[in-house]
């Protein structure tokens, strides 16, 4: 009970307080003016309606693209005899672990044209004429977001398809249905919830993403809600920014609300899985080489190729040109007035080193905080059935941040913690606010992993400890945590990776006192230092992928009693 109350209180401070601050600020006189400016004034078109339209277009494109690409690949890998399944599966799972700006930077490196002057991309540099629609705006933004988020659809749908056990499908075949009929009538409905929810997730992310539109839209004044929001706050129009935050939250919330309504009634399908048994795969026959080729191309285009482009271009002597020689300068060079206005290579740049340290530290701190919170939420929600009010409140609170786009959450934290509260000093510009905001931002993931990992521990295992006379602390420490370790660790790594690669949450919160890699990257990119931006992106990707690999190792070590 006590644990439940304390957890609820912490969540309220993390989630409710910033939102309340946001709303309260926009209800003051300045805020009310801002509402008018944004929604109903000559400025509205530019401030709100056009960015809204752009956001929605990008959201739809991202959702549709992710569903087709991710769902299609998942079907190929799980249900058919396509070749190189392991490679395809591994590569398709990677993009989600990479920062979303990695793909935007890679796109820019290849397709940027001379519309706004400055450096140009590889293709333009080779003399090709790149049309604006390919270089800027809706198409490149959507494409890079699809390349990022299809990965999530792939993972979710593949898991759902793998859950459709062989005998379920065989039962359909025995009943006389054709393979295609079985796929449509049995397999599809079972994976429908995964497909729909991942598509809507992609939609919400597409609507609210900051990095891609900031890099590929903002330079040509193609605005979305999140770039508008960022622009307002960074130019001092704070109230307008807050109003836009609330509107962005509303859009994301409506989408996700609809998604749960749409999928909610069908969720029971998730538990309908047959008994084991090998699943026979659909033979592609003469289409097999073609399907394999398409799948490999798709995953290569979204992983290997952008990675290669980023890595190579970080060595390019001349920006975005692979023909003018290569240099290590942007990585290890000393200050040289001939290069990049005398800036040192990223590995020699104390600011970058410090940012790297801060980033890793932030990732660890947030992962630790979120994991503890997630465990507490998971434990209370799955075990304290006696207090339905507390558990419902916790469930709601822990999923609320899901509805809040990162950049809007950042704005909310500034609104609430940007000035002193009572005896507490203003947290703006401190490391603490980054950790707190990060914990709130990643709470849904941590709570979900806490719930599933505690939930899968049978109640009897804990009751048998109760019978032995063990108190709650002891049960948590010796039974629950060891048994939930694998899930908690996986959740912790997810949180770590999410924080390390995140730009949208921190872009408003970071000050020069607390530099973070993603923000440094964004700054370099928007100032035209492509090699530096690409080099740091490679570093971020390396940290993310490294953490994931390390976590797999640790998971093996944490539970020696499994897989013996």
């Amino acid at each position: 009970m006590l644990l439940g109350a304390v957890t609820a209180l912490v969540l309220a401070v993390l989630v409710v307080a910033p939102l309340a601050g946001l709303v309260a600020t926009t209800l003051r006189p300045d805020g009310l003016t801002a509402w008018g400016d944004v929604v109903a004034s000559p400025l509205s078109r530019n401030l709100f309606y056009e960015p809204l339209t752009n956001s929605l277009v990008i959201g739809f494109a991202t959702a549709a693209g992710s569903m087709l690409l991710g769902g299609g690949l998942a079907w190929l890998v799980v249900m058919t005899d396509v070749r190189f399944k392991k490679t395809i599966g591994l590569l398709a799972a990677i993009p989600f672990a990479l920062p979303s700006f990695a793909l935007a930077l890679a796109w820019e490196t290849v397709f940027r044209n001379d519309r706004i002057g400055g450096r140009v991309g590889l293709l333009h540099g080779m003399g090709l004429d790149i049309p604006d629609w390919l270089a800027w705006g809706a198409l490149p933004i959507s494409a890079t977001l699809i390349a990022h988020y299809y990965s999530l659809t792939f993972v979710l749908v593949a898991a759902a398809l793998a859950g459709v056990k062989g005998d379920l499908l065989e039962a359909g075949e025995v009943a006389g249905a054709s393979r295609a009929r079985v796929a449509v009538s049995i397999a599809l409905p079972v994976v429908m919830p995964a497909l729909v929810s991942s598509a809507l997730l992609a939609f919400a992310e597409g609507v609210s993403n900051f990095a891609s539109p900031a890099l590929l839209g903002l330079p040509v004044r193609y605005q979305t809600l999140s770039t508008r929001l960022y622009g307002s706050i960074s130019t001092g129009q704070v109230e307008r920014g807050y109003v836009l935050s609330l509107l962005l939250i509303a859009v994301a919330a409506i989408v996700l609300f609809l998604s749960t309504r749409l999928v909610g009634g069908r969720r029971s399908y998730a538990t309908i899985t047959g008994k084991g048994g090998r699943r026979r795969t659909l033979e592609l026959g003469r289409y097999r080489p073609a399907a394999t080729g398409v799948a490999l191309t798709a995953v290569a285009l979204t992983t290997v190729l952008p990675a290669a482009v980023l890595l190579l271009s970080s060595f390019a002597r001349r920006t975005n040109s692979f023909t003018d020689g290569f240099t290590l300068h942007f990585w290890t060079g000393a200050s040289d007035p001939a290069f990049a206005q005398g800036q040192r290579g990223v590995l020699r740049n104390p600011q970058v080193i410090e940012a790297a340290a801060t980033t890793v530290l932030l990732g660890l701190a947030v992962a630790a905080a979120a994991t503890v919170l997630g465990l507490a939420v998971g434990y209370v929600v799955t075990r304290l059935r006696g207090a339905p009010l507390v558990t419902q409140a916790l469930t709601l609170l822990s999923f609320l941040p899901f509805l809040i786009p990162g950049i809007a959450l950042g704005a909310a934290f500034i609104a609430q913690f940007g000035r002193p509260i009572g005896p507490l000093p203003a947290l703006y510009g401190t490391f603490a606010i980054l950790v707190i905001a990060g914990a709130a931002y990643t709470l849904p993931f941590a709570a979900q992993s806490g719930r599933t990992s505690v939930g899968q521990i049978s109640g009897e295992l804990e009751e048998s400890a109760v019978m032995a006379g063990a108190g709650m602390t002891r049960r948590l420490g010796r039974i629950v945590v060891p048994l939930a370790a694998r899930g908690l660790l996986a959740g912790g790594v997810l949180v770590f990776v999410k924080m390390v690669r995140d730009l949208s949450l921190v872009v408003l919160l970071v000050t020069p006192a607390t530099p973070l890699l993603s923000v440094v990257t964004y700054r370099y990119a928007s100032e035209g230092f492509a090699q530096f931006a690409n080099a740091i992106t490679v570093i971020i990707a390396a940290i993310s992928v490294g953490a994931t690999v390390l976590a797999r190792r640790l998971q093996g070590a944490a539970q020696p009693w499994v897989e013996r």
Binding site: S458, E460, L461, E463, S464, A465, V466, M467, A468, G469, A470, R474, R478, I479, P482, L483, Q559, W561, V562, R564
Partner: protein, 374 residues
Amino acid sequence: MNHALRSDSPPDTEAGPATGPAIELIGLRRDYGDTAAVDGIDLSVPVGSFLVLLGPSGCGKTTTLRMLAGLESPTGGEIRLGGRTVASGQRGVTVPPGRRGAGLVFQSYALWPHMTVRRNVEWPLKIAKLDKTRRTARATDVLRLLDIAELAGRYPGEISGGQQQRVAIARMLAPEPAILLFDEPLSNLDAKLRVETRAELLRIHRATGATSVYVTHDQVEAMTMATHVALMRHGRIEQFGSPADLLRRPASAFVAAFVGTPPANVLAAVVTRGRFHRDGVDLGPSPLPDGTDVRLMYRAESLTLDPAGALEIEVIESSPLAGRWLLSGTSGDDRVTVVEDDEPEPVLGSPARVRVPDRPDAVFDADGARMDAA
């Protein structure tokens, strides 16, 4: 055997030495909202009894066991263990599970998968603050008692279901509880192992001298193991007594149809012109007034196949049992089972006739309550 099990020190519990009944339930109830899972039950068994809580699923037997263990609190009534009140719905007394001197074997065994067999057995002793030497000695004792000493270093995931069962029992026995609680412990074992484990459990029960409470829906287990049976239905005790009591003098039609191998036949009938009639078939004289709806009980051994018999059944199955044959059929909505010495001739799905004795073995009213003197 006794020496191996009982160490020199007294049991580390607060239940104290038993005087009077080992377990007493007084008006015990457990309500969930408007529904009563356990609807006021009373019983009392002496030290060393083997009490079986028997009944169909949803009858409240597991809830009763969990209240005995202390995993759930009664909403009314009292539980006394060895004369001491450990839970009271009215006074809100609840002695925590670890201090009741009771051990529980879960249906799923609930072995901690991250601890070896030895650690599983030792951990409760560690919580009971036994020192290392005594823990080790005690664990070795119980593992030997259960014949699983060689599994000590394995993890639960590495041993068979039957072995896990033994570990669960060893873990329960280690702190030397005065009361042993079993929640359908045999339901996950195959048929052969189940019979063997039944004998094993009885051996352990006798060796420890403890009082056992055993929950099952299988009347065979109840009849073979219990000193006392409480047959439960809808949260109440339908009948409490020895297995022989339940078999010989069933208190209700429900009991009659639930216990026994095969269970007794219970046929609906009505009294007309001073005789029992079932769908116009005369089943013998009745002392009851005309128009009374009754349920007549006939043991399977009281019925015989006879082409001239009064009752017609449709044969649905026949099976050998201990050198004799059981033949079952349906008569209207009721099931009729007959014991024959030789393999019966009637063909499955075809009709057969059954001779019914003049006097039924028992008479119940339409609600199943016993009418004749038991």
